[in-house]
Symmetry: D2
Subunit: 152 residues, 4 copies
């Protein structure tokens, strides 16, 4: 069984910095041999997916709509839930840990749904919520994760 | 069609003050003719349900587990989702507005899932999140709701 | 806690006979003091809802879409799941028994999802599936249910 | 994006014949370059997963419970839904077509949920439902699928 790491974040990229952080997150996850799991859509999700594919990684998109055609072009495995934002609960439950980058209320729901089931959440320029481990990039997040947490 | 108002909050009551706020919230919702919708479990959910029933209101519980037996004793209509925390998305989508009282990460997920679909969220001694309308009690929340928002 | 009885069936009425059977089913459920739970949409769901309201019953609609505006006009309590056909699992899990009337593949999924969790299913002019108790009308179904099964 | 083919069937293997049919189905799916998607549990799901892995295929398990530990040992990508049988809707929506092998009411729900959204369903020694394309094995199913249907 492969270990999945989630990247969650906004569906709109707000700056070049966020774009690079998201891309590097996907790349780092794939380089370390993890599968990237995300919401499968645009913005942070797409940049992370692109980053993972840039080094030959595998990307799972848990889609909110009724059709795989909404997936960003870097998704390998489209999971079509047709359950709108309730699919956020599936993303965080399927992963070993969550890396949250920027984002708005959807991202906040993913952070909260992860914490309620005790998944570690690493935050990069995102909501300032008690219990999030603040980091600067995915490399730092995964170093902490691999040092302090067990794989599923 | 009846209008539903959601009360979300922790499954454990942490003080007499929270207990009374939750009870009064359910009571106020029912007195104004709304149906109370909540997660159907203990704590804030139970006190609000009890408050609504104290004045003859109707209470819907959107349960996370597989069986209606987990519902608190004040639930009239148990909706058994068997979908764990993903049911939080159903609670906030079915209501006209959300009153959040105290609570932990589950409550935070409900606040976020409500805001992502533009439902008004009133907060009483709960998470300090941008976009929540802070109030002291449900009476104040419903006065603002009835003045500024449309029913569904 | 109220006991819920589900009526499932097609979203299109195919004959006057089916229309009357569905109306009478909702009416009989309400007359016996049960809450009607259904998918909240048109066709058999709407006729059953109308029947229940004709005698002052209470009707819960577990809606597949994102908005309560899709509910038929006889729904009292709209539960807005935004999870498409996956909401069929919630209908059958929330009820004491299922009355299936006519219908197509959606109805078949509800019959199957009910049987997999051991809910009694009564069938009127619907799919001929092993394990369904064939009856002529809802009165017969509820007589058998009240004689042979326990409430939740 | 990879194309997913679903195998659905009972969680208990009832004969050596069913065991072989399920194993060969997973193998054939993987040999043709598709990703196998299934419910991730035992029985037909496990044999198909084993078959796909025997030729180096990729296997996605859409799990009903709260934890990836319930997955069969041949699952590469565990998707942890925590939504019980409602996850059946996700399996059939994510795939290009469904191969149903033996099975009981859970399998019937997957057949029905697939047909309601117009996914082709091939049946091998399973429920005799109108609209299923009866075949003897997965090779025959995939020959028909590749000849008559479009990929997503």
């Amino acid at each position: 069984m492969r270990n999945l790491i989630a990247v969650v974040g906004g569906s709109v990229i707000k700056s070049d910095e966020i774009k690079e952080i998201a891309f590097e997150a996907g790349k780092e996850i794939a380089k370390r041999g993890y599968v990237l799991i995300c919401g499968g859509m645009s913005g942070v999700m797409e940049e992370a997916s692109k980053g993972a594919k840039s080094v030959g990684g595998l990307v799972v998109g848990i889609l909110p709509g009724k059709d795989s055609s909404e997936a960003n072009p870097y998704i390998d495995i489209p999971i079509v839930t047709a359950m709108s934002h309730a699919r956020n609960a599936i993303i965080v439950r399927s992963c070993c840990c969550v890396i949250a980058i920027d984002g708005e209320y959807g991202t906040l729901s993913e952070i909260a749904l992860a914490k309620v089931i005790n998944k570690p959440v690493f935050g990069i320029k995102t909501w300032d919520i008690e219990g999030i481990i603040k980091v600067s990039n995915a490399k730092e997040a995964l170093d902490i994760f691999e040092r302090d947490y067990k794989l599923l």
